[in-house]
Structures are given as C-alpha cells and as structure tokens.
C-alpha cells in the first residue's frame, strides 16, 4: 500500500513591536519575570485594551507579501479557556474577520522543484505568558510559577491549507515564512526564543484517495529540524495503526524530541469549545485603501524577486540564487561582495564554500561573520588580478577569519604574493628539471598523448619549491616550453 501524507501548518510569528498588542508594556525578550506585565496584561478590573497600530502595519505587510487579501475591516473576538498563563480567561484573537484573508506562496524544494501552497488566512492575536514547571524554587512546594512578560505580545497566526505532502515540503514552507517575515523586518524569526513557532496538522491517506484522513495536531515544534522529524514520526505512527486495521483518534499530540516520538496531551482531551464571541472592549478596525496601497508600494524586495534578479543580473544558477536569498543578511552580503569585486560567480562560490564552512564551524550567523563582505571582495580581487592563486587565497581567508586584517595586509605580512615574474619562475623550472633526470628521460620517451599528464610531477615540484606562490599558468607555459626543447 502506498500512503500519502497530508500536512497543514499553523505558524505563530511574534511581531517585533516595541510594546504589546493591547498595552504599553515592553515586549523585550529576556527581562526578569513579570517586570513587563502591566495592569492590562494582568487583566486588572477596569482596564481597557487599546490596539497597537504597528501590529496592524506589520500584519498588513505580511498579507501583502503573501499575495493575500487584506481585511479592510477586522474584528477581535474572545477565545475562552482557562489556563494560568492567560490571566483574562480568554485570548483576544480574530476569527470571522481576520486581517489577512486567503493567499498563496511558492515554496522551493531541494530537488529544484517548486510548489504553490495556499494560505487559508492569518490573524492577529495576543501571546500567553509562560508557566515554569521545573524546579525553579528553592523550597519544594511543588507549585508552578507564572511569568506574564510574554502575555499580550502581538502574534500573527498563519494558517495554511492542507497542501503539503511531505515533511520536506513542510520545512520548505516554514523556511519561506521565516524568510518573508525577516525580509519584511516584522519579526526576528528566532525559533530558539520562540519568535516563530509551529503546530502541524498531520493525516495520512492511501495514494489516490480524495477524502482527507483523520488528523492529529502536533504542538509546539520549535526548530526546522524538529518539524521534519516530528511529521515523519507521526505519519509513521498513523500508518502503522491503519495498516494494523486500527483508526486514528483526532487529538492534540506533543512531540518529544529526546525520544523522537509523539504522545497524546491528556489535558487537551476535553473537546475544544472556545465559545468565541466578538470582544465588546474593542471596536472593528478599519484600514482604508490608501493605507494598504501605501504599504504595498513600500514593501522591500522579497526573496523570490531577489532570487530572480540575482539570476538575471549576476548570472547565478537558480540553486545559488535560492540559497543566497533565503536570508536577507546573506543576500545583502553577497550583493556587496559581488558589486565590490565585480565577480558574482566567485562571490557566490566563496560564500557557499569557505565562508559557509567557517560560519558552520564557529556556529555564527552571517551577520556575525568574522570576515566582512568588503574583506571578502578584497580577497577575490587579488585572485582575479593574479596577486595570489586560489589555493593561497584559502590560506589568506583563514588568516582574515583569525583577525589578521584584510587581504592585502595578510598577503604583505605573510609574504604570500604570487610569483609572476618570468625570470624567477624560469629559474625554478630549470632547477627542478636539472634535479629530475629520470623523470625528464621518461617524459622524452613517452608517447605524446601521455606527456601532458606527466607534467603534473614537475608542476608539483615547482609549486613546492615556490611554497605554492608561483603563478600556475606561467609554470605550465614555461615548463612546457623547456621540456619540449629537450625533445
């Protein structure tokens, strides 16, 4: 039996506003507990929420980037449930009239193919606080601690249609959302701090079947890697049950990354009944056409447009262009190197090669790169003008990464300048030929078709003698002339 996995994602993105969605408390991450929870966030009697205009601006920008309809009228509703990290006893959110309606984005898969994923809608809502269950207290009273600093932080919840068919597609979609929100600058997208969180609705069905299978909802998957693993392991679990003749229970499950398994969340077993109703404290928010059009015209260049431009302006492959534009910081880095060095292809190779390896090794983001874009452009310029060979360039790069200055300084200080003057190369060639009697004899006696290959030995010796600094094109040319003269 061949099974098909069907996935829809709900992505929560924290908007990087300074203050909360309905209060003037700060949203800064990492403050001491409850120092950024004001009377409104705590649901003190007599308080009234006032929405943050920046949150609406950000949500509108997101909707425009997703080619979605913008709700000119959006209405907040109360979603009622009880949990200690939700002081009001309801979450203020949107349901019937969200700010962002249906839309569509294209995702790019590793095999080079693309696919459209439809957006069901996206809405504005407030985040909840945090419950600390661990032993954070000295006394062993066994109670939970509540930190409400996060309560009221603006979120957009982005709900996709069930259009994804593999864990890899879900990851590509999530990366695309991440890419768009960070390009727009509406969120820092930091998954480790919870700025971007993902729930996945997963079901399986036999290939060719039209009807959707019973789905489970996987909660709180907090890294790209876990999204892939959680979906895979949950799909396998469902397939095993169905192949054994069982049936899937619709429920919320938690992914345990240590055990790589999903398990039922018993506390959510009571069927959800949120009894939504329009929030009487808030009036409908109206956005007019001028407002929306002004934001549309001010949108920055987005990843797909940038990738297309990189292909046409810099003649990059679709693969390179995609890779470089996933993050705005790497796209900007590339563009600086490409423009300053005038060598886009080399710039792409260096960024995807040596620089990526360095950043991986040091666990740094491209924004924290020890080698700046200007420095890398300077290095590439020295390869292009034959001051150094590409082999020596790697050595210079490592030295720049260690903070030894820019390319010219390293080349000067370490004496790495490529030897390109004919006299000294001729001298080295003569010395190697004189010291390699047997190899010269073999070369002379060899068939002409074999000779080019046999030159490798001499080139290696000369390179060694020059500590890698002799210009390889010149060695080849002079060596061939000298060897052929002996024939």
């Amino acid at each position: 039996m061949e099974w098909e996995i069907v996935i829809g994602l709900e992505v929560h993105v924290q908007l990087s506003t300074k203050s909360k969605l309905f209060s003037g408390a700060s949203t800064r991450f990492g403050a001491p507990p409850n120092t950024q929870a004001c009377a409104i966030d705590l649901a003190m009697p007599g308080t009234l929420p006032v929405p943050n205009e920046e949150a609406f601006r950000y949500a509108t920008m997101f909707g425009l980037a997703m080619n979605a309809e913008i709700g000119r009228r959006s209405v907040f509703e109360r979603k009622n449930y009880f949990y200690p990290d939700l002081p009001k006893g309801y979450q203020t959110t949107q349901l019937a009239e969200p700010i962002v309606g249906s839309g569509e984005i294209e995702i790019h898969l590793e095999d080079g193919s693309s696919k459209k994923v439809r957006l069901h809608h996206a809405h504005l809502e407030e985040d909840a606080g945090k419950s600390l269950h661990e032993a954070v207290f000295e006394s062993g009273h066994g109670m939970s601690g509540i930190d409400l600093n996060r309560a009221g932080t603006p979120l957009i919840e982005i709900v996709s249609e069930p259009d994804m068919r593999s864990a890899a597609e879900a990851v590509a979609y999530l990366k695309k959302i991440h890419s768009i929100v960070t390009y727009l600058g509406i969120s820092d997208g930091d998954m480790s701090q919870g700025s971007l969180r993902c729930d996945a609705n997963v079901s399986v069905r036999l290939k060719g079947e039209q009807k959707l299978g019973t789905r489970t909802e996987l909660k709180n998957i907090n890294s790209f890697r876990f999204v892939e693993r959680a979906i895979k392991v949950e799909a396998e679990r469902q397939i095993d049950i169905l192949e054994d003749g069982g049936s899937i229970v619709q429920e919320t499950r938690l992914y345990d990354s240590d055990k790589n398994e999903t398990r039922s969340m018993r506390s959510k077993e009571v069927a959800n009944d949120y009894r939504y109703f329009p929030c009487p404290d808030l009036l409908p928010v109206i956005l007019d056409d001028d407002y929306v059009e002004q934001l549309r015209s001010a949108l920055p260049e987005l990843p797909d447009a940038k990738a297309a431009r990189f292909q046409s302006d810099y003649k990059l492959s679709a693969y390179d262009a995609d890779l470089l534009t996933q993050e705005r910081a790497s796209a900007d880095f590339f563009e600086t190197v490409a423009k300053q060095s005038g060598e886009p292809k080399l710039a792409a190779n260096w960024i995807g090669g040596e620089l990526a390896a360095l950043l991986n090794r040091e666990e740094l983001s491209i924004g924290e790169s020890p080698v700046s874009a200007e420095q890398l452009a300077g290095l590439i310029a020295r390869v292009v003008d034959n001051t150094i060979s590409s082999k020596i360039a790697k050595q210079v790069f490592e030295a720049m990464a260690m903070g030894e200055g820019d390319a010219d300084q390293v080349i000067e200080k370490r004496g790495l300048k490529q030897v390109s003057d004919t006299g000294s190369i001729e001298k080295m060639v003569d010395e190697v030929i004189a010291a390699s009697g047997a190899q010269v004899e073999n070369y002379r006696n060899a068939d002409e078709s074999k000779r080019p290959k046999m030159m490798g030995y001499f080139v290696g010796q000369i390179m060694k003698a020059s500590k890698g600094q002799a210009n390889p094109q010149m060695i080849n040319k002079i060596l061939k002339e000298k060897l052929d003269a002996l024939l």
Binding site: T17, A25, P33, N34, P84, V136, G145, P284, V285
Partner: protein
C-alpha cells in the same frame, strides 16, 4: 424549554463554575428561559444583515507603538495569594 442536565454540567466545567447537584434543575430551567428569548430573536428575518461586532457604530482608534508602562511588579505581586522569585505561584500545571 429546559436545557438538559448534561449540557449544564458541561457548560459549568468550561466556565469553571461549581454547580451542586441540587441546583442543576433550577439552573437548567433558568437557562431554558434565556434560550426562549434567543428563540424569539432567531425568528427575526435577518437575511442580508451583516453580523454586528459592536453596538456602537464607531471605529477603533489605534495607539502608537511606544512603551508607556513602568515596572510595577512588586505592587502587583502583593495582590497575589502566593508569589516567589518574581513569579506568581499557582497549583502545579502539567501537560
């Protein structure tokens, strides 16, 4: 029309309200009266009428994105039955 007792129990659980077994009948009758009123409203012909989000025909005013609230943690923690290390304490919550 009375609301059946199972529905009353479910609503009580969702609202975290304790209703004793003796009062369930009374509550279900009173809720039934409210629903009768709703039935009257349901009978009104509303085709083509947009749902009303708010009784006032006004538009929400938004505020500028500025931090205007100072830290008043110590005052607020005083109001809670129990607190420790800057956290509000509640009975253990586990998922």
């Amino acid at each position: 029309m009375a609301v059946d007792s199972q529905t009353v129990e479910k609503l009580a659980e969702l609202a975290r309200i304790a209703i004793s077994a003796e009062t369930i009948d009374e509550v279900s009758n009173r809720l039934g009266d409210v629903l009768q009123l709703v039935d009257q409203l349901q009978a009104v012909h509303t085709e083509g009428v947009a749902p009303m989000a708010h009784p006032l025909d006004e538009v929400q005013v938004l505020r500028a994105d500025q931090v205007t609230e100072a830290d008043r943690r110590e005052e607020f923690l005083q109001l809670a039955p129990q607190s420790e290390a800057g956290l509000y304490l509640v009975p253990k919550v586990i998922d």
